[in-house]
């Protein structure tokens, strides 16, 4: 095995890892804010991919141009989810919260199958096509641009959360909503913003992946699984932890597939996850 092949696997792993990181960051933000696990995160990713697909199919908008619309649609979806479902279960028992978001995932997937059938779709001839050849390493242009956009979105999210008024208020609400309320921060509004940003992240990732991934109603399941692993690995509620964890997962998946056996890619990721759960249950950067 040559060093070029290993380098190829590392670059592929890094690019996938950045996408996993952004998907996980959305999940982590929502969990960190209100201790609710969004089991419908994969379905939200699927919705964002379909949003890109339909904007292309119906209006001829290439996914790279429809990204802002997809982000806005997903953010709106997040606000709706909060006001019509989540706010009613905020004080409920954890089992009820799990059932609610798990039920939401089944609801969204069923509606999607009813409306759009389980057929595989793809965006035909998107603007981002082809590949770059650097020495003997090949990098798919859509994958490269998608990972870079996800990285930029991630940095934007991090700066927003750590440097802006709303970001600091979100952090305060995540730590102690009652103390935040006493300082004039409306927690319900913060939760809605958290959902909007969380699903906005998924909008970026899904919108970019629509360039090169098949789009179907079950597409989000594996991504959601990796996002859950990334959140646990990075530390529940830690945004920066998601970046490291996403990259680790991307690299383990890619290098494990190359060096051992590609059939067991999921297994390698979950072995890492189990090791973290056993030896560092709070994750790499977690508070819990």
């Amino acid at each position: 095995m040559t060093s070029e092949i290993i380098l190829q696997a590392i670059i592929t792993g890094l690019m996938m890892g950045l996408i996993y990181a952004l998907i996980a960051a959305g999940l982590s933000l929502i969990f960190g804010l209100m201790d609710i696990v969004n089991f419908a995160h994969g379905e939200h990713l699927m919705l964002s991919m379909f949003s890109s697909f339909w904007l292309w199919s119906l209006f001829g908008l290439d996914p790279i141009f429809s990204i802002p619309i997809t982000i806005l649609l997903m953010a709106f979806c997040g606000i709706i989810t909060h006001y019509f479902l989540i706010r009613y279960i905020l004080k409920a028992k954890m089992l009820i919260q799990i059932c609610a978001t798990f039920g939401l995932s089944i609801f969204i997937r069923s509606i999607a199958q009813l409306l759009w059938t389980p057929d595989f779709r793809n965006v035909d001839k998107p603007l981002l096509e082809g590949r770059l050849e650097i020495g003997s390493v090949f990098i798919g242009q859509p994958q490269l641009i998608a990972s870079l956009v996800c990285l930029i979105a991630f940095i934007g999210l991090y700066l927003f959360v750590t440097k802006t008024e709303t970001g600091l208020a979100l952090q305060a609400t995540a730590q102690d909503r009652h103390a935040a309320e006493i300082l004039g921060i409306p927690s319900n509004k913060m939760f809605a913003i958290g959902w909007a940003i969380g699903l906005g992240c998924v909008g970026v990732a899904g919108g970019m992946m629509a360039n090169y991934f098949f789009i179907f109603t079950d597409v989000g399941i594996n991504f959601a699984l990796f996002a859950f692993v990334a959140v646990a690995l990075g530390g529940f509620g830690s945004i920066i932890g998601c970046l490291y964890a996403g990259i680790i997962i991307g690299l383990v998946e890619s290098l494990g597939g190359l060096l051992i056996d590609p059939s067991f890619k999921l297994l390698y990721v979950f072995v890492i996850y189990l090791l973290v759960v056993i030896y560092r249950p709070q994750g790499l950067f977690g508070r819990y």
Binding site: K163, T164, E165, L168, A169, Q171, A172, Q175, D176, H178, A179, A180, E181, I182, L183, G184, I185, P186, S187, R287
Partner: protein, 240 residues
Amino acid sequence: MKILSVENLSRSFGGIKANDNISFKVDEGTILGVIGPNGAGKSTLFDLITGYTKADNGKVEFFNKNIFGLRPDKISNLGIGRTFQKLKPFADQTLLENVMIGSFVKEKNIKKARDKALEIIDFVDLIEKRHHFARELSTGQRKRLEMARAMAIEPKLLLMDEVTGGVDQKTIPGLVELILKLKKSGVTIITIEHNINIIMEISDNVLALDQGKSIAFGSPKEIQNNKQVIDSYLGTVDAA
């Protein structure tokens, strides 16, 4: 001028009346001390005024505006700040960030909010600790942090829950001085204290609670000589 008027405020938890028809008034620019044995309902009274806990019935007026039933963030925006007996700093944020979060209530510009926060941190004598995480501060410093954070919302009325509780004796004079400095700056204060000497020293009026009921209200001297207050603190001869 009356800044706060509380009438017949009540709250029960199951069969226990934590606050039972509490009524009192606070003049602007004064300090009202609230005393009472453990479980008298002092912190619950703060929870009810700030909307942290919903009252069963009663009336709370702030500058003649009814604030009963408002959400805590709305009450805070009107100008009522508070600190907690069980401290609630945002542990994973720095002291500066903690205070800035309070500053944002009145100042949306991030630079101005930061400057204002620094000014307040200086006021509470913690400027050297401004970049320390709240979790790294001592109990006394966290008490100052909570005061600074509450001050950052520019309250007209500040409710302070056992500011001197749980801190070492050396720290107490500094905290008392800080309370008096706050009063001097024009903030009206209601403070819960177990340390009777401090209450008598700093308060203009004192409200004594026992088993959820208001048993006395008056000047520190009147309260000191009130038989019911003495009984509730020291016990009656029969009880002994």
